[in-house]
Point group: C2
Chain length 218, copies 2
């Protein structure tokens, strides 16, 4: 690091190649996301993405090997954020003194909050996933990691669980809470009480069910 700190850190000059490169790449990812969400995955052609990002088609291929690499980068920006969230939530230090019910409540809060933010990116990722089994599998793997971390935290408190098979019960509850939250955040609703009630009522009902399923002592 022999670079002049005045220049590199205080940003008197800011159009370094590196930062221009990063800006262009972000602009391309943003443009791809927006087009995918607005017109579906088929509407997001390289030509249109470049146009929207304000660069030429040639520039796209300078930054990404091919269209698939660009799409995967869009997807990865979402999954990286998800992995980060998982890592933070899984930190045992964060949950010292917490009971199973607190863990479940924290999980619900986390997912409800996550689904309320970054919606365009997530929608784009969902559309890409729908057309690509590899991405589907990758997303499932990330969710799996998060769920297994939660499972570990819960089973470290297994003495609270009255169900005769705590391992099965804990897994079942985690799956089911996930399904419940997915149903709540799905924009295409059917009946739907899960989506119609407010967050507090949803949380109360979900926690009540989970406590029953695990036979948590009171």
């Amino acid at each position: 690091m022999t670079t002049n700190r005045w220049i590199s850190d205080l940003h008197w000059r800011r159009d370094s190649q590196q930062s221009r490169s990063e800006q262009t790449q972000s602009a391309l990812l943003d443009a791809a996301e927006a087009l995918i969400v607005e017109q579906g995955a088929e509407g997001a052609s390289i030509t249109r993405i470049a146009e929207r990002a304000g660069v030429s088609v040639g520039a796209v291929y300078h930054h990404f090997k091919d269209k698939k690499a660009l799409c995967y980068a869009v997807f990865q920006r979402v999954t990286d954020a998800l992995s980060d969230l998982n890592r933070q939530a899984a930190d045992p230090a964060r949950w010292q003194g917490a009971r199973v019910r607190d863990l479940l409540e924290g999980y619900i809060d986390l997912r409800l909050h996550a689904s309320a933010t970054g919606n365009v990116s997530k929608h784009a990722a969902a559309l890409l996933m729908a057309n690509d089994a590899e991405l589907k599998a990758h997303m499932a793997e990330i969710k799996r990691e998060g769920n297994l971390a939660l499972l570990g935290l819960i089973l470290a408190r297994r003495e609270e669980i009255g169900h005769p098979d705590p391992d099965f019960a804990a897994r079942f509850v985690i799956d089911q809470l996930g399904a419940m939250i997915t149903a709540r955040t799905d924009p295409y609703q059917t009946v739907s009480a899960i989506a119609a009630c407010d967050d507090a009522a949803f949380k109360a009902e979900a926690l009540d069910w989970a406590a029953h399923a695990l036979r948590l002592g009171e």
Copy 2:
């Protein structure tokens, strides 16, 4: 109807224009479904669909106005079957003397059975839906109709429900059972106890939860 019954009913001659037409249309829908499932929605071009169905591109456009019409026909074949199933299941005569628990068990059985059959068609429909908001909305509407019919059957037995707000509880349980079954039949699993256990264990756990949520008397 002045047609000769010997001909039209006993099929001595079978290559009428009408039946050829139907055969070609079915072949096109089958080919489209297969290609969509095998290569994703983008892989199913008119050229490839025609080739797979063993007809020319021109023939495709004789039977379908454009590509969208063909895709919608693929989708409709699936939703028509679903609507039929809904209509059969919603018949009150079928449920005479049944209790709420029987209704819920019947619903679970129906959906588990449905997800085990006609998988290629449903997979294709799901991929088409993913790229088309109109189809998503249509599917949601069909599920909604089925769920509302179930809701009606349950609320006709509201005296069995101990929950202080039977209407809310019934809607919540229907949503939740739906989410549970979706999670079970999703091929991309996370933890997952819901998918790992056998049908009997799944049903028992689901029914137990529903009975608790509704506060069904015993």
